[in-house]
């Protein structure tokens, strides 16, 4: 890449390279293994939880009891009534059910933020095609939604925590008919008041993938937007064993939550401190002591993210990236672009408590080395 044209990189080269006999590796990607407790329970659950809970055979009744217990677990940890909970086998359809179910009239406006998930942009596009007015709220450079006063009959999609940057909204959503996206924040951020529908992803507490939890408030005027016989019903299309495994994962996760979040916050701060001290020209999308504890994102000026992730992977560290160079569609991360952050040279880290201090240090030195090598 030529030499010497990087305006503000005057770093000492080769600083602090760790070479150890046993290779150290660490996972920082979003995909994660099922919680060990849920994994251990799954096979037993598949043996016991196969019957149709709506029938009256003993097996069916046992399944119905297990399912009811699982609902209680979700109810306790998600802060909703158990009769407000619906299970879905697909997170994507949850966005449609949760949002479109609140849009009743052709005059209803749909509003969401510039940092929402693609599924919400798709929903907005879909509603606009059928004649609804839609609006995208911009965000500040800190990822905070620029809230405006809304017609309280508007439907607002509100993200509690961002799945790319870990940024958490500090303000409450304005009065509106509220759909809450809790898919990235899980149980880390409580539901705001006066929500009408809310969506979680089982993976956010290390539960199995392929399971979403949709809550519909009992006081909401939600109506099923899919073909239906009963407008208040969501058709059951989920795997009972996955629901039970997810409830087990959630219980274990919640029990260890305080201890884990302490450790994750310390890791996050350590990474931010190391990177800001040792590597120049870095644009941080996540801040110290803020946001979801397990997530952070930052971008290196003049660095190719594809090469960065490949070089890190060759050293045993797997990371994600929001840069266009690493995706197939050439589009940079809309979240970083909306915040005015640098979209190239981006890496995204999902922190886990299993990563040891030794592995974290080795990762940080490897990161410094691969960035310096590219900029040389």
């Amino acid at each position: 890449m030529g030499e010497g044209y990087l305006p503000r990189s005057h770093l000492p080269s080769g600083g602090g390279t760790v070479r150890s006999v046993v290779p150290i590796t660490a996972e920082f990607q979003s995909e994660s293994a099922l919680h060990p407790a849920a994994r251990a329970a799954l096979s037993a659950i598949f043996e016991r939880g196969w019957a149709d809970p709506s029938k009256i055979h003993p097996e069916s009744r046992r399944t119905a009891i297990l399912l009811e217990e699982a609902k209680q677990t979700f109810s306790t940890h998600l802060g909703v009534r158990s009769d407000e909970i619906h299970f879905l086998s697909d997170v994507g359809i949850g966005f449609h059910l949760g949002i479109a179910g609140l849009v009743h009239h052709s005059e209803t406006r749909f509003i969401h933020s510039a940092v929402d998930r693609q599924e919400i942009f798709a929903q907005s596009h879909h509603l606009a095609l059928s004649g609804h007015k839609t609006e995208v709220l911009p965000v500040s450079s800190h990822g905070q939604i620029e809230v405006i006063e809304l017609d309280p009959n508007s439907v607002l999609a509100w993200q509690l925590g961002n799945g790319e940057t870990g940024i958490v909204q500090k303000q409450s959503p304005p009065p509106s008919r509220l759909f809450v996206d809790a898919t990235a924040s899980g149980t880390q951020i409580p539901l705001p008041d006066k929500w009408q529908s809310a969506l979680w992803d089982s993976r956010s507490w290390f539960g199995p993938s392929g399971l979403a939890i949709l809550a519909i408030s009992h006081s909401s005027s939600w109506r099923n937007p899919l073909p239906h016989l009963d407008p208040r019903k969501v058709s059951d299309s989920f795997s009972i064993p996955l629901v039970l495994a997810s409830a087990i994962a959630l219980e274990h996760w919640a029990k260890a939550r305080e201890e884990n979040s302490h450790r994750l916050k310390a890791m996050k701060n350590q990474i931010i401190d190391f990177v800001s001290r040792n590597i120049s020209d870095v644009d941080f999308a996540s801040e110290r002591d803020e946001g979801l504890a397990h997530l952070l994102s930052f971008s290196f000026l003049y660095v190719d993210a594809e090469r960065l992730t490949t070089d890190l992977s060759a050293r045993g560290f797997s990371v994600d990236s929001g840069s266009a160079c690493t995706s197939l569609n050439l589009q940079p991360s809309h979240v970083l672009a909306a915040m005015g952050k640098l979209t190239h040279g981006n890496i995204r880290l999902y922190l886990r408590t299993e990563v040891t201090d030794e592995a974290l240090n080795a990762f940080l030195f490897a990161l410094q080395e691969v960035v310096e090598t590219q900029r040389r």
């Binding site: 890449m1 030529g2 044209y5 990087l6 305006p7 503000r8 020209d281 644009d283 971008s299 000026l301 003049y302 660095v303 190719d304 840069s323 266009a324 160079c325 050439l330 589009q331 940079p332 970083l336 672009a337 005015g340 952050k341 640098l342 979209t343 190239h344 040279g345």
Partner: protein, 70 residues
């Protein structure tokens, strides 16, 4: 005006080329960057903020940048 034609190049090359050429300019001189990469528009703004320069014209594929910092 000095021109950097980065059409057909993918991120982060347009920004690297811009940074390379702008080094040869004097303060307050301007440079034109042509790029059809969708990441250039957000990135040229972020680059200007990080390096203390200014984008005086952002035409999505055509950018005029004024050097304000060495």
């Amino acid at each position: 005006m000095m021109e950097v034609d980065a059409r057909g190049m993918r991120c982060p090359i347009p920004i690297i080329e811009l940074a390379k050429v702008i080094r040869t300019l004097n303060i307050n001189e301007e440079i034109l960057l042509l790029s059809d990469d969708p990441a250039t528009s957000p990135d040229v703004q972020a680059w200007a903020r990080m390096t203390g320069n200014v984008v005086v014209e952002d035409g999505q594929y055509r950018f005029r940048i004024r050097k304000l910092s060495n």
